[in-house]
Symmetry: C2
Subunit: 210 residues, 2 copies
């Protein structure tokens, strides 16, 4: 068999195809053979890059982290706002409406694939929260926010917003979800992070219904 002259393209192909299969079938229901069939690669071609399905999962998750980080950074650079609070509110609104960000997460969450839920929780606390904390510090500085311990506040906010208030994880209807988003709104106001408004709640409910 001819040697692959573009190993990075093969790597890419495996990761993209595996992500699609994990979304369609669930991680545990996807076999290495399924990935071979869908990519048309030989066993040797795949094992050159990945020794196991777990390693492919790691690469898929790594890509999700990179994607969200890139998207976050883009939004931070390109979202106008008279201060950090307004900027953060707009960014949250855009993320809620951003179908692409949700595609992988939602599809995986709706299958409740526990690997993705746990990885998502770790990513939101370890990777996303520090980015939000940076903007909170900016808001404390420009006077639009008054948050003590921005890092910890961001962790709590994202953990509750993305997971506790997630209807898929707890099989909740829109009304039950709305009640929780309103409670989260009141909690965050008490912590000085007044970002959740009626329009964000409406956008989130809308995103979850889809």
């Amino acid at each position: 068999m001819a040697r692959n002259k573009h190993p990075e393209q093969t790597f890419e192909k495996i990761v993209v195809t595996a992500a699609r299969l994990f979304v369609e079938k669930g991680y545990e229901q996807t076999s290495v053979q399924d990935i071979l069939d869908a990519t048309g690669l030989s066993k040797g071609g795949l094992y050159h890059h990945f020794k196991s399905k777990e390693q492919i999962l790691d690469a898929v998750m790594q890509r999700r982290i990179q994607y969200v980080n890139k998207r976050f950074q883009e939004l931070i650079r390109n979202t106008p706002g008279k201060n950090a609070k307004e900027k953060l509110k707009k960014i949250l609104g855009q993320l809620a409406a951003d179908a692409e960000t949700h595609a992988l997460d939602q599809a995986l969450a709706s299958q409740l694939d526990p690997h993705f839920v746990v990885n998502g929780i770790q990513t939101c606390v370890d990777q996303d929260a520090p980015i939000v904390a940076g903007l909170i510090r900016e808001g404390n500085h420009d006077g639009s926010l008054h948050v003590q311990q921005p890092e910890l506040c961001a962790e709590v906010f994202l953990m509750l917003l993305n997971y506790w208030a997630n209807p898929v994880l707890f099989h909740r209807n829109s009304e039950e979800t709305k009640v929780r988003l309103r409670y989260l709104q009141s909690v965050m106001i008490q912590l000085g992070l007044d970002l959740i408004d009626d329009s964000l709640i409406a956008d989130l409910i809308q995103a979850y219904v889809q």
Copy 2:
């Protein structure tokens, strides 16, 4: 082969053995064959009760839910206290020190088996929080607590205490965990649920170190 005259004992044996194997090896690394070997059952003997490993997992998780509920109810009945707040604080202290409650959870969490983490999150919000909310309502009634929306407050409290502040899930050291427990203490004080004190924080750090 003689028919089993005590099907409920066989069921029990499978669930207990499977729980032990899941703890020792992890859920995904445990095969049905491992469970057959460890119980000495035939394939037919096991499949009479469970059609798949997933069904065994469900039974193990069901048992964990029943155990924690029973333990909670016992503590609520048998823990003395001059009011609901004092009672809740003592119950939390006892749960933190209760090795048996932690055995399954900790062992599974330390392997970070995502099935157990996700099921644990769902159980804590859907099953444990309503029990805590009952005691919070009692505290609102006897004047020892002043909590709005006891159900939602209990959900947020348990989700943050058991998962966000969990060092195993985020690979944190004792100091990083202590900082989060102190922040949670200040958040819960603002929500009117002043239950976390220095001795609970010390007990939790101690329990996690083990």
